[in-house]
Point group: C2
Chain length 206, copies 2
């Protein structure tokens, strides 16, 4: 594709560098912006630049934050003996959205993945250990994705905490509500049978 203007070509290339956006979609977005008022497009550009430039990460849990520590860590109403360990900020948002969890978080910023060259030192494990050393944390709830890398990370953290008096839990895996047994994958179905619960628990949880 040849572009009628260098300016358009640059903008298309920038959009096309985003995940899931190809050259055609990028061009469509650029031509849409071309029809908007310059001041509106400037607002777009500035919001994006400003977001990256001014965003801070909580020095405690590594969640995004407008200040030095995030609003979740600062909130005295939250249970600071319970930490939910997640991979990314998006997981924090997903859990916060259900409005049921009242503990704190720890954002690892990734999972251990030897294939991709990501070791324990490349993610926020050391800072998690420091939080545990310094505080009265009683439980670590591991909410990592159920992949090999997620499981490796959980295993590594549990080894590091061996001998420590901390309860390590993982969120439950099983057949989703609304999911049908027939269409559930074998691993999930097998695990949901192996980790079956007494009926009383089922009633309570639901």
């Amino acid at each position: 594709m040849s572009y009628p203007s260098k300016l358009i070509e640059d903008a298309v290339n920038e959009f096309a560098s985003l995940p899931g956006i190809g050259k055609k979609t990028a061009l469509r977005l650029v031509l849409h912006l071309l029809k908007q008022e310059p001041v509106k497009v400037q607002k777009f550009g500035e919001a994006v630049t400003k977001m990256r430039r001014d965003i801070k990460f909580c020095s405690n849990c590594h969640n995004v934050s407008d200040g030095d520590t995030c609003s979740l860590c600062r909130n005295p109403a939250r249970d600071d003996t319970l930490i939910c360990v997640v991979e990314s900020i998006r997981d924090v948002m997903a859990i916060e959205n259900i409005g049921q969890y009242n503990g704190l978080y720890h954002v690892l910023g990734g999972v251990i993945s030897p294939v991709d060259g990501i070791g324990p030192d490349d993610i926020e494990i050391e800072s998690l250990m420091k939080r545990i050393d310094g505080g009265e944390i009683e439980e670590l709830m591991m909410a990592l994705n159920p992949t090999m890398e997620g499981d490796t990370t959980i295993f590594y953290i549990s080894k590091r905490l061996a001998g420590n008096n901390i309860r390590i839990t993982t969120i439950a895996r099983g057949v989703a509500f609304g999911g049908e047994l027939e269409y559930t994958d074998e691993t999930t179905l097998a695990r949901s049978i192996a980790t079956r619960l007494p009926y009383e628990n089922y009633l309570v949880k639901k």
Copy 2:
């Protein structure tokens, strides 16, 4: 969805204002940018802002341009007796991409659409008339989309030029190469029969 930071919320809202991008996709893009270097994100923001701020439109054909007139209008090798009338810049790019057309363009910036309140004065018809008055244009090739609005626009322009010694043509509509008769819509098939060509022409055009 609640966002952990006002900065993120603003950026998500800006992305979600683009066509075909919802809040979930917008968040995915913002979280992707959050992982990039600030200077890279700044480059993104500036390319977009700069594109809209510095872009010019050709005073002759209303195509986008880096200067006062576009590179197509300035090119002496192009046939200035033939003007291809299109709706948008994207159409110019599509036609230029095949590398077969050697005339000039006129970008209307829309088509007449009474339903949307777009009349002849809202698109670049007056400037087209001026080009025709002032120049040695022999043919207007209408390459508008085959919608009611496109047809109305062609009809309006042809009426305005009645008595003028200009040939008005439209690009051919018919069954696409590679298309199968069986799956062609009725209107297209009917028109391709009504406007059938002598076999000699078929050989030449192909």
